[in-house]
Assembly symmetry: C2
Homo-oligomer: 209 residues x 2
DNA sequence: AATAAATTTGACTCAAGGTTCAATTTTTAT
DNA sequence: ATAAAAATTGAACCTTGAGTCAAATTTATT
């Protein structure tokens, strides 16, 4: 029923004056999710055990269950975290004179920066989620794809983007994003900023007219 | 030791005259691999049980072990199959007057066609392979990336491809390829041929100068 | 038809890893 | 200092799915 009951931090007594949202619990919970996200990205969901996740933070796997209902919930939250961040990026204010291509470039650049600078990663293993959660995540992903596609058609209307099937335009450069997620190593020689520059340029040349 | 001993079809007696390689066994073995590849691509390696794989061919999971040593070997062969096909494509003869961009476009188009028309799929789960096999697959992948990068630098030398970090050029459009593998549905409205056309064009615009 | 080889199966074993929980340690509040 | 709440743990439990194997069935051979 109330699948999210446990995310409420255990409060001794609901002191009405102290409305500052009790951070301790949530902060550590978020740390658990982020550690897991990083491990999932590198080794994959099923190749990462609860033990592995705990080890990163110096915890026993049993301790994780104080912050999280089960492993699947961690995966779910990883997905949510990524899509929340992407939603925020899509809210970028569009200058009235800005054309579709320019807006799209900015969004894409921010996507790349998100994946290289923050610990957030796009996970592709949506099949390991059970029915309800899986549906929710697929809906979110679809919503993002739709927003990006809309930006493309806008650009096609204002003449800044080449004609052609918008979905194919989008899938092409969104693929670059997902793949980036797989090979990018924060400690490697390629710096996030450079990748963002290069990718944004390649996106522009690829679809501008 | 001889990890591949079992792929030799059980021959009653090595009749020296009959050199036509006994197909029966190998044909069905290949069918097992391909069925698994398709399931792995859609649901992921760990979300696909031996039972699932057997079901596709109307077999019991126990029967699969007649054709294959273990599940990991299936994954390994899936990877090999994809990389073998990609190696073949890279062997494409290069007309003496053909520039780097043109060669690369042809290769890329064939890659797209491979993924949409044949049952072959690029699997990304290389972490589920044990040490030796994993190393082998990573080497193969690296070898292909190197070949594609070489094509890019050739194109940069002959003036057909924009300057810039060759690795970034490559990762961008190879991402499209890997992502294609995730979303493409043979029964969907997008036809493989159209995707190949569009993607090849987007590749060209993206990196030509 | 009889026999041998090839193929398939049902029933079982086994290990890995996710999950639970009562008990313990650490932190916070009085 | 003491008590209550929060955080963590070790040891068990349990489910899932990979892998084994002797026996049964199907296919090829003489």
């Amino acid at each position: 029923m109330d699948a999210n009951a446990h995310i409420n931090p255990p409060l001794k007594d609901v002191a009405p004056e102290d409305l500052a949202p009790e951070p301790k619990f949530m902060v550590k919970r978020r740390a658990v999710i982020l550690s897991a996200a990083s491990a999932f990205r590198r080794r994959g969901y099923h190749n990462t055990s609860m033990r592995d996740i705990g080890d990163i933070l110096g915890l026993t796997k049993a301790a994780l269950y104080y912050y999280v209902k089960n492993k699947e919930e961690i995966l779910f939250e990883c997905h949510l975290m990524a899509y929340d961040a992407m939603d925020d990026i899509l809210k970028r204010p569009q200058a009235p004179d800005e054309n579709g291509l320019s807006y799209l470039s900015g969004v894409f650049r921010d996507f790349v920066t998100l994946l290289t600078q923050s610990g957030v990663s796009i996970l592709s293993d949506v099949d390991s989620l059970g029915g309800e959660r899986q549906a929710q995540i697929l809906a979110r992903r679809n919503q993002i794809e739709t927003a990006v596609m809309k930006a493309v058609t806008t650009g096609q209307t204002d003449g800044s983007i080449r004609a052609g099937d918008a979905r194919l335009h989008v899938f092409f450069f969104m693929g670059a994003l997902n793949w980036l997620n797989v090979w990018y190593d924060a400690k490697g020689r390629l710096k996030g900023e450079d990748i963002a520059d290069h990718f944004t340029q390649q996106l522009q040349f690829g679809i501008s007219r």
